[in-house]
Symmetry: C2
Subunit: 470 residues, 2 copies
Amino acid sequence: MAMLANLPRNEDGIATALGILGQRFGPRFETGQALREQHGHTTTWLRNQPPDAVIFAETTEEVQEIVRICATHHVPIIPFGTGTSLEGHVNAPAGGISVDFSRMDKVLAVHQEDMDVVIEPGVTRKALNTHLRDTGLFFPIDPGADASLGGMAATNASGTNAVRYGTMKDNVLALKAVLPSGEVLKTAARARKTSAGYDLTRLVVGSEGTLGLITEMTLRLQGIPEAVSAATCSFPSVEAACNTVIATIQYGLPIARIELLDALTVKAVNAYSKLSLPETPLLLVEFHGSESGVAEQAESFGEIAGEFEGSGFTFTTREEDRNRLWQARHDAYWASLGLRPGAKGISTDVCVPVSRLADCVTAAQEKTQEMGFIAPVVGHVGDGNFHVLLLIDMDDAGEIARAEGFVGWLNDLAISMDGTCTGEHGIGQGKAPYLVRELGEPATGAMAAIKAALDPLNIFNPGKIGLPPP
Amino acid sequence: MAMLANLPRNEDGIATALGILGQRFGPRFETGQALREQHGHTTTWLRNQPPDAVIFAETTEEVQEIVRICATHHVPIIPFGTGTSLEGHVNAPAGGISVDFSRMDKVLAVHQEDMDVVIEPGVTRKALNTHLRDTGLFFPIDPGADASLGGMAATNASGTNAVRYGTMKDNVLALKAVLPSGEVLKTAARARKTSAGYDLTRLVVGSEGTLGLITEMTLRLQGIPEAVSAATCSFPSVEAACNTVIATIQYGLPIARIELLDALTVKAVNAYSKLSLPETPLLLVEFHGSESGVAEQAESFGEIAGEFEGSGFTFTTREEDRNRLWQARHDAYWASLGLRPGAKGISTDVCVPVSRLADCVTAAQEKTQEMGFIAPVVGHVGDGNFHVLLLIDMDDAGEIARAEGFVGWLNDLAISMDGTCTGEHGIGQGKAPYLVRELGEPATGAMAAIKAALDPLNIFNPGKIGLPPP
């Protein structure tokens, strides 16, 4: 992966398109090296492959115009939200134009009775929730970063509360996207349910900019819960924690979040935040509902945890206490970096059936120890999704190569457990080699056929999903 | 629609394929007229267009073999579950082979800890829930008919409890399908979350047999709730009932079902079941949760209903009382037919944003009255989805033509309200003319491009979704 190849560049076409687009977009067309590198940048270890220019688009019509010019000259287009994806999604291996959507950031309509909102793609999730502040509604998907909602849709983001509210796929009701032909695709009406033809909404969500450039979205909203409770509990082993998760879900408790921190992460958090949590696996849980409901649910969780050797169970419904309880989770990333000062964190992402989660996490921990890595684990364990954070000296090529080896090993392990090489980070460039191992050639062949049908010139984010078979 | 045209038939190819398939499948290959007509039949008013033969497939390999033979000779293939779809999905306008999946009815694996099940497509929803009886788990989607789960996936079925548990799209984790090439597509691993490439699962779900023949599915299951409560309440108007629905959802009450019966339906049920409900719009609600939770929720619903002039509020958590309360809903279809003895019911299906539901239902009622129809209305109102049941003398061509006129008018009204011409019945043949009005040519063009990419010979259920633009 560090050896990421460039793809053939259409130099003449790129030069011509740059000339036309530069004239058309004036100061909103930029070619400075730092800006271009930042627009190829993802929070990743992958080599930077900057686009040739960045255009700050302001309207759907402008996006159509850019697409038509690039189509005429066979020039790649890569959509850019906030650049917080992790697998090289916004790299430009064949050069081309990065279309920056940050200025398309208007909330177009809030429908309170229908509990939905129509937005432009550059609105970030925090900006949306600020906008919704007085409506009693909120948008629940939280991948950590304050990503743009267009980028979150394009990569099918999720995060800590997917166990209750689903992923982007479950929360985008409809969208508009500019197709490689320059036409504007409307995927669905605003009704909450539809059986009207192929599900183009969910085809574009998660397509990582390879099929359409999202210019408008209708998102489902949720009512802000009357009450929230939080609980934490320590466990003697990852297995005991995972069995608690399974039992909690089977019992039907409507968990809003259930997060695992492994012993190493707890140790990091203790050091970082001056806490004194037992340095064993920790579960953090959150419930949303009525005042009496969330208290009852947290107590039921405590009882279940007790059956699986859980200890130190604590719960609260008061906001300041909740924040204190969850401090370990909020601090986990920065605290973990403190385990090896100067190192950079490489975050992996796999997801397995919950029954295999303890085996998969435990095997990953053993493997990183055996390979000599410092590698804390956090997991969205209600979904069987977890991340190993490898702390790497990015100046040590040998260490990077060994980290790549570990990532590949973990992907293959997850796939062997009927899991996936990516639960929420997406394919991009980093996971591309594993897709065919996971699903087989009929699936990657079907993806390539769909890509070729909708983007016959292969100008939308080339080199990512939808590659023809080698 | 009654004028449904046949498509050109490939007579030579059909004759050759019939010979080969007859020899290969012996007694499981049938050409009797009654059986063929039944396999083109859907619970519909559309003209019957029977296939040329029916094959009862028993394995994925057999399905692959049928597809390869039909592909060689350019012969249409139409998958058949139980024939309970409503819009001509299993008609054979160009002739061809109906593949009956009723013998592929094995439950392959129940994963209790993961709360999923792997099944063949011919398993019906009731058979699945019988099989799951002792596990504490159930499959929630209930479209009314005891349909095959393969058919329910192919048509993206839903029904009364979609407001809580979603539609088939939300409950199929992964599937295998034979492609027009004869290859077996695996769409996803068994993990609960994935971002691994285009969402082929949700592309096949709802594709109505036009892209792949489903031969295996992994379905999400739910824990059987500890307790269930039911409530009913009468309202002075459809608008008051709909406002109660909106407030209930906004309040965050986790309704499992919320059904509307209009005054005419209530009148029919009173006559049919000797009840004495007020003959005004009625809401029936169900809650799933803990003992104390469902009681609290039903009471909260009663308070909300009271704010919108609801009267006669009754609730219970006892099963026999629940069944009695819900009797009106269970009997609605047969009771409604009693409003005009000898008539046949034509069920329409539209879905609009919930804020427009009262307007849409009221306009539909006024229109049917104005047109002289007896036409009770029931609705899955939490989703904005409702059905008008037109009671029609099927021997009166003029009446059928007027009914078609009404259906078209209602589709267009729903579309004008940013809704859809089908919330759950699907496109088939009956809704085909409305798809482009709802979504526009970029969407139908994209569907046609995807169809042509995966089925270049157009042999999978031709004449349904994925038609090239006229």
